[in-house]
Symmetry: C2
Subunit: 220 residues, 2 copies
DNA sequence: ACTATCGGATAGTGAGACTATCTATAACAG
DNA sequence: CTGTTATAGATAGTCTCACTATCCGATAGT
């Protein structure tokens, strides 16, 4: 098929397809002439993946590009998984104060307690420490105490997610396995946050909505 | 203090402070002359909160503005909590196909199973359904099956988070309670994702790294 | 033959988040 | 009291990002 049909099939405008081609997120079609190319089902699937990463996963084009490079590259699965994980955490430039050092120590302690095998450079380390340091700087150090509960919950889910990717792709080939790993990692994060929002709404309805005292609705 | 010192104390550049003032995210200082104003500790704290929401929470200025409006406004706590929740989920414009309908039904089923009291308009509903629909469209429907596990985990955490905000702010006044709710909701999301990344790295190290067969490192 | 479409290159657009400049002041050091 | 620096507020400029639009000389299909 040519670009017009690819556009119709994928719901992505022709200019956007050209843009993704330029950015190397979509492989070029098979050339059939000096100014003609042929696209296949793979291109349709890839385009859908691109839009999923951008729209649902909330990745930037640059982040999606790196993730897709890992999918296409000849890297082992765990490395592609790492690329996807890097893409979902925001790591702002960090200041180095007392709160930061303390936060890093807390994260190190957690990792040791749980026996997690994570490298020193794992972006989750920095990101988690950043949040803890920020809690402390804002005067909410107690929010950081829930970190063990968070970690226990994530450990369970992560084990299941990784298993799911492996079992669901047995025999599907490397490319498909990597695609699944990346999809699950990126979109799974969005799913998690969405469910957390609902769970919080429920929790606050139970703890506040059902209580007619309006304890916190006015200045005390 | 004047704007220069406020800048030094908060680590935010003077032009940026002026920008936040213009956007209404930072209240104006007390005027002491036609071109002089005085800022206090509240301004320093607010500025830190703004940067936390933007840098650590990953919110856009527009989203942060809405959250802060809820903090300042005379709304009940659960409503401010709702504003913060709205800010952390991305809700792209949705298509209406078979996958979308099925996904919505699955989310409705989940909500019913868990007895969650969430409104029809809760953004988490749409966001969760979007992810499930995308899984299906990409050919990974099995990833959606973990939704009950995700939900159970989030239910536990959310209950603890909401409790933590309430108990930690007893007597602190409405403003402080709302600030805590917002901070915990927004930054907690980042913390969760950071820990998930580490947990996944650990899980894949256990399931793949320890296995020397390199099962997925080459095309099969 | 003729019109719609194509691939590819280049340039333009609109939103978002600042950043710079300008204009009167006002504070302060010598 | 005078020169330097800082200030509030307004307006305009910048830079990045993620597209869009426009051209061009070929095809493709009728």
């Amino acid at each position: 098929m040519r670009v017009g049909e690819l556009s119709r099939r994928s719901g992505v405008s022709v200019p956007s397809i050209k843009y993704y081609l330029r950015e190397g997120m979509l492989p070029a079609g098979e050339r059939t002439g000096p100014n003609q190319a042929d696209y296949g089902e793979d291109h349709v699937r890839r385009l859908r993946l691109v839009r999923a990463l951008l729209d649902v996963g909330g990745l930037s084009v640059a982040a999606a590009k790196e993730v897709l490079a890992a999918v296409d590259g000849d890297v082992p699965l765990y490395e592609a998984l790492g690329a996807a994980q890097d893409a979902v955490v925001t790591v702002p430039g960090g200041v180095s104060d007392e709160a930061a050092a303390e936060a890093r120590a807390k994260v190190d302690g957690l990792v040791a307690r749980r026996g997690w095998r994570v490298t020193e450079a794992n972006p989750g380390r920095r990101a988690a420490a950043d949040v803890l340091a920020t809690y402390a700087r804002l005067g909410w150090p107690q929010f950081g105490e829930a970190i063990d509960d968070y970690a226990a919950a994530m450990e369970q889910l992560a084990a299941r997610e990784v298993e799911s990717v492996l079992s669901g792709t047995d025999g599907g080939g490397r490319e498909r396995a990597v695609e699944g790993a990346v999809t699950g990692t990126v979109l799974g994060g969005s799913l998690l946050l969405a469910l957390r929002v609902m769970a919080q709404a429920d929790a606050s309805a139970r703890l506040l909505g059902a209580d007619p005292s309006d304890k916190f609705t006015t200045d005390s």
